[in-house]
């Protein structure tokens, strides 16, 4: 079974986790002055990375906390997991807008 390192609980089986989409998406400021295109990009447009991808996961059936993970999308290998407040261990490839 795929084991995922939860930053709070340690190594746990994958069925306890839920995928939460791409990580490090900041709401553009000032949001009142955004164009429709900028809103679209913020709300809907996501990377479709081949390789290391920074993404959110939630340990739903465990501590319940969100955390970030760096996962290789071609091998499903977790390169690292880290807390939301922490910067990614290394810049995720191709994540720049």
């Amino acid at each position: 079974m795929l084991l995922i390192q939860c930053p709070y609980c340690g190594e746990r089986p994958e069925p306890e986790f839920v995928y939460g989409g791409q990580a490090h998406i900041a709401r553009p400021q000032p949001s009142a002055e955004l164009s429709d295109q900028e809103w679209t990009n913020f709300l809907y447009r996501r990377n479709n990375t081949r390789g290391a991808h920074a993404e959110r996961w939630r340990h739903t059936h465990g501590c319940g906390r969100f955390f970030n993970a760096l996962r290789d999308t071609t091998t499903d290998h977790f390169l690292a997991t880290y807390k939301l407040s922490e910067p990614p261990p290394r810049p995720p490839a191709e994540s720049a807008e």
Binding site: Y8, G10, P15, H61, C63
Partner: protein, 181 residues
């Protein structure tokens, strides 16, 4: 409560594993930061674990770590009711959440030399005593239901499960027990 009919049908007894419903208990979910944890510890005169996935037991009362800011407080019914106002008062000045969930879930005990094997039928965790020692507790899954699993002894586990899942869980364990009988 129709969903509890099966859970109340009586203990499931197999050579090696006994599953029984435990008597009603008082349960609280406490959420808050380190200051809340310290204040609760003082008000309850009970250790509230700071280390992940650990439970502290003191007689009939227990505090289980569920998350970095979440604890499950257990006590036998009645004994803890008088302490809740004291705890609430002690936490008044701190941002926190203290919710009575006594009737949301019920407790099952799984005991016997085959307890680990029985639970492994539906729980993806490594339940070996080296990986899941006495005093370890965690939210996890058993079959399709979410549970809180707590190892209370070498061959004893306590399961806290939402009431509406109890019937399913007992049926699941009865089915799994065929394999070890």
């Amino acid at each position: 409560m129709r969903d509890l009919t099966q859970a109340r049908r009586g203990p499931l007894l197999k050579p090696g594993a006994l599953v029984k419903t435990l008597p009603p208990a008082t349960r609280f979910i406490l959420r808050g930061g380190p200051a809340v944890r310290a204040a609760a510890e003082q008000a309850l005169a009970l250790e509230v674990p700071a280390s992940p996935c650990r439970a502290a037991l003191d007689g009939e009362r227990a505090a289980l770590w569920l998350g970095p800011d979440e604890w499950l407080l257990l006590a036998s019914e009645g004994s803890a009711a008088s302490r809740a106002p004291a705890l609430s008062a002690a936490l008044q000045a701190l941002p926190h959440s203290l919710v009575d969930i006594s009737h949301r879930q019920i407790a099952l005990a799984v005991e016997g030399p085959a307890a680990e094997t029985l639970l492994a039928a539906g729980c993806p965790l490594d339940l070996d005593a080296r990986a899941f020692p006495i005093g370890m507790c965690t939210r996890t899954v058993l079959g399709k239901a979410e549970i809180v699993l707590w190892r209370t002894g070498t061959e004893a586990f306590r399961i806290e499960v939402w009431r509406s899942f109890a019937g399913y869980l007992c049926a699941f364990l009865a089915e799994a027990a065929h394999g070890i009988g």
